[in-house]
């Protein structure tokens, strides 16, 4: 099968950003900042890397994706829609009564969600459990997890990291969306994380640090670094910009969990359609 090209992935990432921002605008609620910083990684995973089948979301041998920073559900829903897991227009019911698109991912309500998240710090443990099951059952599937940098304040993240190393989970790939912001401001001010790359490395992960908006780099890292079968779990610290692609949201803690008004929304879509300055 022909794999999706970098150019196509870049286009997909723009689509995902537009859909996510529209969802948050329609709902007048949700988290645009961390959705936009994660968009390029999500696009690479859903449209190139992950072995998944929209017609069979519970396929036993599928790759798994755990959005440990569950508040950025809109970007994952956008990917599920574009990939065909759910009807395209349906995602605009985000956060409405009866919608499968809950404020935070709900595996019981939405096809393609592998675990419910929303309380930060917990999803990575679930990813470890999935990876252990795959390893013990001698299955080839892999587990991808995304954590926020702020989320790494949580002690449970480090418990999960220890266990991934103990159980030699080279079928687990962890992305840190290193956008340097959390809710109350810069991570460095709220709770300094020091060097996350060194920390993961010291805990025993294979670790690398990349530009989380450079699709060529993301793809290459997934093709090489992430595929090494050497008994070590992988961590990719992705330097990103919170709000990436919408100028007034970029690097602004205020856009962590705020919906744009009409003018802001129209401006955002115009900017995104103009493509991303790389």
């Amino acid at each position: 099968m022909q794999r999706t090209s970098v150019e196509e992935l870049k286009q997909h990432a723009i689509e995902l950003r537009k859909t996510a921002v529209t969802m948050v605008y329609e709902a007048q609620s949700g988290h645009p900042g961390g959705s936009l910083s994660a968009a390029d990684i999500i696009a690479a995973l859903y449209f190139r890397e992950m072995n998944i089948d929209p017609a069979n979301p519970k396929w036993e041998d599928r790759d798994r994706f755990v959005l440990s920073k569950g508040h950025v559900a809109p970007i994952q829903y956008a990917a599920l829609a574009l990939k065909g897991f759910v009807p395209n227009e349906s995602v605009y019911t985000l956060r409405q009564y009866g919608s499968p698109f809950q404020g935070h991912p709900d595996m019981k309500k939405c096809p393609g969600i592998d675990i419910s998240t929303g309380s930060l710090g917990q999803g990575l443990s679930c990813a470890v459990g999935m990876a252990i099951a795959g390893q013990r059952d001698e299955k080839d599937y892999r587990v991808f997890a995304m954590v926020g940098d702020g989320e790494c304040n949580e002690g449970q993240i480090w418990e999960a990291i220890q266990s991934a190393v103990k159980y030699q989970l080279d079928n687990l790939v962890v992305f840190v969306d290193n956008n340097r912001l959390q809710i109350d401001g810069f991570c460095d001010d709220v709770m300094p994380l020091q060097d996350l790359e060194k920390k993961f490395d010291a805990f025993g992960f294979d670790t690398t640090r990349i530009d989380g908006h450079n699709m060529e780099t993301i793809v290459e890292t997934l093709d090489t670094f992430a595929k090494q079968k050497n008994g070590k779990p992988k961590c990719i610290v992705c330097d990103t910009v919170k709000g990436k692609g919408v100028s007034y949201m970029e690097d602004q803690a205020a856009w962590h969990g705020k919906a744009p008004n009409k003018e802001e929304f129209e401006d955002a879509i115009k900017q995104l359609e103009g493509g991303l300055p790389v």
Partner: protein
């Protein structure tokens, strides 16, 4: 069933977990045990020796244990997290809520050291509020067996029943009440004695006390009905309603009197708008280092107090 002989032999119900989990692991390769560095006292050693591929020890990291168990469950495994009740209900409470109960995953939380049974460890290790917390979570089933055999049967049923189950065991030994062939059903109270004057509803390590109390009452001409309410959620509401035909109910539990068995029974009584209730249990205070029996005594969880409370209701 009928009870004729006085119970004599004693065993801790954590031993029932140690034995039953081996039987389950043998027949079902999806049964997993997740230990948190207290495997020995939680009695998982035989399981570990026999089924290393179905075992994990994630160290002193209960929150992670809950998340890992949830992840395993998404792939069809049936993980039993094995820990002490105080940690299983409190340290990992939010993880159980978010990753086990909310997605309704097939994870079992198997907890030794329930109630006041870790007497000498002191108040830090005595779980007096665990069933209350677990009872509050949607999708959760909450069980404590009265003795070794009933606990084994209930563990087996918990493994067969899809969904989250909290199982609570004793660290200390408790008398064996039931014989090996007795059957139990999750959510169905076990009637130990029929009676007309007062109904005693007990669970866990207090059932044998209630049994003894019922016998003493009988000698004084008071006929007591006795239920072993091993499942406090879902509560056997019909069984409680039947007790309301008698009208006088004494509940007995090795748990805070708030939000455990006594409260669950009180909820039914209040909604039915009838009956009189006396709740026996931990008196909304922390424990301390002492022999387990001493702690029961301080809290009035004794044969004498059950008899006294029954008589008090009868004299009203």
């Amino acid at each position: 069933m009928s009870v004729t002989k006085k119970p004599t032999e004693k065993k801790a119900t954590r031993a029932a977990f140690g034995d039953e989990i081996v039987r389950l692991g043998e027949s079902n390769k999806d049964i997993y045990v997740v230990d948190v560095d207290i495997g020995k006292s939680c009695k998982t050693d035989n399981f570990i020796a026999k089924f290393p591929k179905q075992h994990l020890n994630v160290g002193i990291a209960e929150q992670n244990a809950a998340g890992i168990a949830a992840g395993l469950a998404t792939t069809g495994k049936i993980p039993f997290i094995s820990t002490y009740a105080v940690f299983g209900s409190l340290r990992m409470a939010e993880q159980i809520r978010q990753e086990v109960c909310y997605p309704n995953l097939n994870v079992k939380i198997a907890c030794s050291h329930g109630g006041l049974t870790p007497g000498n460890d002191g108040g830090s290790h005595q779980a007096i509020e665990d069933m209350a917390i677990m009872r509050s979570f949607p999708n959760m089933t909450v069980i404590m067996g009265a003795d070794y055999h009933s606990t084994r049967k209930l563990i087996a049923q918990a493994a067969d029943k899809y969904g989250p189950v909290y199982l609570r065991f004793t660290r200390d030994t408790v008398p064996m009440i039931y014989d090996e062939n007795e059957t139990f059903e999750i959510g169905k109270a076990k009637q130990l004695l029929a009676g007309e004057d007062v109904a005693i509803i007990a669970n866990g390590d207090t059932v044998h006390l209630a049994l003894e109390a019922a016998e003493q009452l009988k000698e004084k001409g008071v006929s007591a009905k006795l239920l072993d309410m091993h499942t406090i959620k879902p509560l056997d509401v019909e069984a409680v309603k039947e007790c309301l035909e008698i009208g006088r109910i004494v509940t007995v539990e090795d748990h805070n009197i708030l939000n455990g068995l006594g409260s669950a029974v009180a909820e039914v009584m209040a909604e039915e708008g009838k009956g009189q209730l006396a709740r026996i249990g931990v008196q909304d205070r922390f424990g301390e280092s002492a022999p387990y029996e001493k702690l029961l005594e301080i809290n009035g969880i004794t044969v004498e107090n059950i008899v006294a409370q029954a008589n008090k209701l009868l004299s009203n």
